[in-house]
């Protein structure tokens, strides 16, 4: 079992004919993901890496019944690609693209309110993988293995680091979700943890956060209300230099939330074990 993505997910890749899109779509196929097609405006009607290419997501959904999409288009087009996917009926949208303007993402978030069934992961994220079954994004499958640990993270390489340590210790993963590090993004820690709570195959949880924002604090508030998952949290950036502040606007709305200390304290208060280094995570999870 898993969350969000399984063997029945029918995946398209937006930007499938690009260099990144091609490479990662092939990697997704190689581990068994059902890649049913891709989009690339102007190349509709052709085939690429063995699947049909469409001009629009609407065409792709009509022809293939796709319900999930991985987005690999350049930053100026990515926000539109997310909205196109939602408007075409895709319910799992994974945007890998890094560097989308914040104001575009704020508009996207507002737009998605009209499509409550659509879930967005990212942007600027490594995507998600259900080990041994399927993936959308760029998480290397060779460092993952199947098992009971749910893993949710804001960082890319740290996710890989922790996944590979878990796999090496015989702790497989149910699903790994990289939610991305942008200030305005799709699913939050809290959203993903709620899904893991409902997945009977997930019994353990690792949360990898970092400084900034207060998504970690909100996740801790959720876990404090009671959870069946044995959870370990790790926060990176406890010694990172403070951003040189200019105005007061940020402080007015966030106060002291956002520091590594505030996040770690929130998790401890919720009864969650906090790892001080990534090497400690495996030991604390057992």
């Amino acid at each position: 079992m898993s969350i969000l993505l399984d063997a029945s997910s029918r995946v398209i890749v937006q930007g499938i004919t690009g260099r990144e899109g091609t490479f990662h779509a092939e990697q997704m196929q190689a581990m068994g993901t059902r890649v049913v097609g891709g989009t690339s405006p102007g190349k509709g009607g052709t085939a690429h890496i063995g699947v049909p290419v469409f001009n629009t997501v609407a065409d792709a959904v009509k022809a293939t019944d796709a319900n999930a999409s991985g987005i690999f288009v350049p930053p100026p087009f990515a926000a539109d690609a997310i909205m196109e996917a939602a408007a075409s009926g895709i319910t799992l949208i994974v945007c890998i693209t890094e560097g989308i303007p914040i104001q575009e993402m704020i508009k996207v978030k507002d737009f998605l309110r009209g499509y409550p069934a659509a879930r967005l992961i990212g942007a600027n994220c490594p995507g998600l993988i259900t080990p041994g079954v399927a993936k959308i994004g760029i998480i290397p499958q060779n460092i993952t293995s199947s098992g009971p640990v749910g893993l949710v993270s804001r960082s890319g390489t740290l996710t890989y680091e922790v996944a590979s340590a878990l796999s090496a210790s015989g702790l497989g993963q149910s699903t790994i979700v990289g939610i991305g590090g942008d200030p305005v993004l799709g699913l939050t820690f809290r959203d993903v943890i709620e899904l893991f709570e409902q997945d009977p195959a997930t019994t353990h949880l690792v949360v990898i956060g970092e400084i900034g924002g207060s998504d970690e604090e909100r996740a801790a508030e959720l876990l404090a209300r009671g959870s069946r998952l044995k959870t370990v949290a790790f926060i990176s950036g406890r010694t990172a230099p403070e951003g040189k502040r200019m105005g007061h606007a940020g402080a007015i709305i966030s106060g002291n939330r956002g520091t590594a200390k505030s996040k770690e304290e929130a998790f401890r208060k919720a009864g969650v074990a906090v790892a001080e280094t990534t090497d400690e995570i495996v030991g604390l999870l057992r």
Partner: protein
């Protein structure tokens, strides 16, 4: 990109917001000339960071001689790590009251938030903590921006009803910085109501989104080069690398922001301090590794380098070979510890060891090793 005060005011003026008369001065003589033209002025350090008043970066000058002396003191001064490149000489205002007006991105709400308070000035953060209700807030719809009645509500909620007309019009102008400039934060604090009833921007802060720089090349061209910045950061930017200067003695290379940050944490935990770090992003191509190492070594404070690379599908032996070549090309003599993981990592470690580079079995061990080696080297 954070704009300097005079740049932010130039932008506000272009949006139709009133600003006090002022002139930029790069030398004490220019400051004297500005004062001769404008009359009594405030001579203000231009740095992209708050707290310059307390740091001695703002001085009042009644005469050109005073302005010259003030500028001579302020230009070149270091304020929180920024060397002051120039001053802004601005006519002092006859202040009747000070208002706070600003917007920023509320990460939790995933939206822009507009804020207005009758209690403007230096203590606004304290106001936010002690009486948050005295700051009126509005989340405008991102597609259409704030509507007139929403702004009117905001102004009345802030207790500024008697200024409803000028304020709603001013907020609308300020808001244009979002769709037109991709501003992520703007702040006018204080927004001054003068004794003659005018509403003028006393100070201005403006930050535009780096991710949107591709559609605002004019802003970068116009304002990007004024601050000298850290010379190493400038060099790294030319090479397309993400680099940050710190003040310790250990150079750090990692791939990915999260991994770099957690490596900094480990070095500190082991008793060391990072001199800088360089994020080489995904993969670990030999050329990128060499560039990163070169930038890290430019800083003379660096006494040892820790490289923490998670390979994933990158081959460890190839990374190791590239690293040995980079070290030899750069004739690097300082201790170097490398923590490699990914495919063929055992082969990678063997290559490192044969070439006199310390491999760390895991990140924590590698951090302890580099701290120890830099200590020995310092003795």
């Amino acid at each position: 990109m954070k704009l300097l005060e005079y740049q932010a005011k130039e932008v506000l003026a272009s949006l139709g917001i009133a600003i006090p008369p002022g002139k930029v001065a790069r030398t004490p003589d220019e400051a004297a000339a500005a004062c001769a033209e404008l009359g009594p002025v405030a001579v203000k350090a231009q740095v992209p960071v708050g707290g310059r008043g307390k740091a001695g970066g703002i001085k009042l000058a009644r005469t050109p001689d005073e302005a010259r002396a003030a500028a001579a003191q302020i230009i070149g001064m270091d304020i929180k790590g920024f060397k002051v490149p120039l001053v802004y000489c601005e006519t002092a205002l006859e202040i009747d009251r000070e208002i706070y007006l600003g917007f920023t991105v509320d990460r939790d709400a995933r939206a822009n938030i507009l804020m207005l308070s009758a209690k403007g000035g230096m203590e606004i953060e304290q106001v936010a903590e002690e009486s948050p209700e005295s700051i009126a807030r509005l989340y405008p719809n991102p597609w259409r921006g704030p509507l007139d009645f929403e702004l009117t509500q905001l102004v009345y909620e802030a207790g500024l009803g008697e200024l409803a007309r000028p304020l709603t019009s001013l907020i609308k102008k300020l808001y244009r910085a979002i769709p037109e400039l991709d501003a992520v934060t703007a702040e006018i604090n204080p927004l001054v109501v003068t004794k003659s009833g005018e509403v003028i921007a006393g100070d201005a802060k403006l930050e535009v989104d780096e991710s949107a720089a591709w559609r605002h090349k004019d802003l970068e061209q116009r304002y990007g080069g004024v601050l000298e910045g850290d010379p190493f950061e400038v060099e790294a930017k030319k090479l397309g690398l993400t680099y940050v200067s710190l003040d310790g003695e250990i150079g750090i290379i990692g791939n990915g922001a999260g991994l770099c940050m957690s490596t900094l944490d480990l070095v500190q935990r082991a008793g060391g301090h990072a001199a800088n770090f360089c994020d080489i992003g995904g993969g670990a191509k030999a050329e990128v590794v060499q560039n990163a190492l070169a930038v890290i070594l430019m800083n003379p404070r660096v006494r040892g380098v820790l490289m923490n690379v998670f390979g994933g599908i990158t081959r460890g032996d190839e990374v190791a070979k590239g690293l040995v070549a980079a070290r030899d090309n750069l004739k690097m003599q300082l201790p170097l510890v490398v923590r490699l993981s990914g495919t063929r990592e055992a082969e990678g470690r063997k290559i490192l060891k044969e070439n006199g580079i310390e491999p760390g079995a895991n990140a924590w061990e590698a951090a302890q090793k580099i701290v120890e080696l830099t200590r020995v080297a310092a003795k």
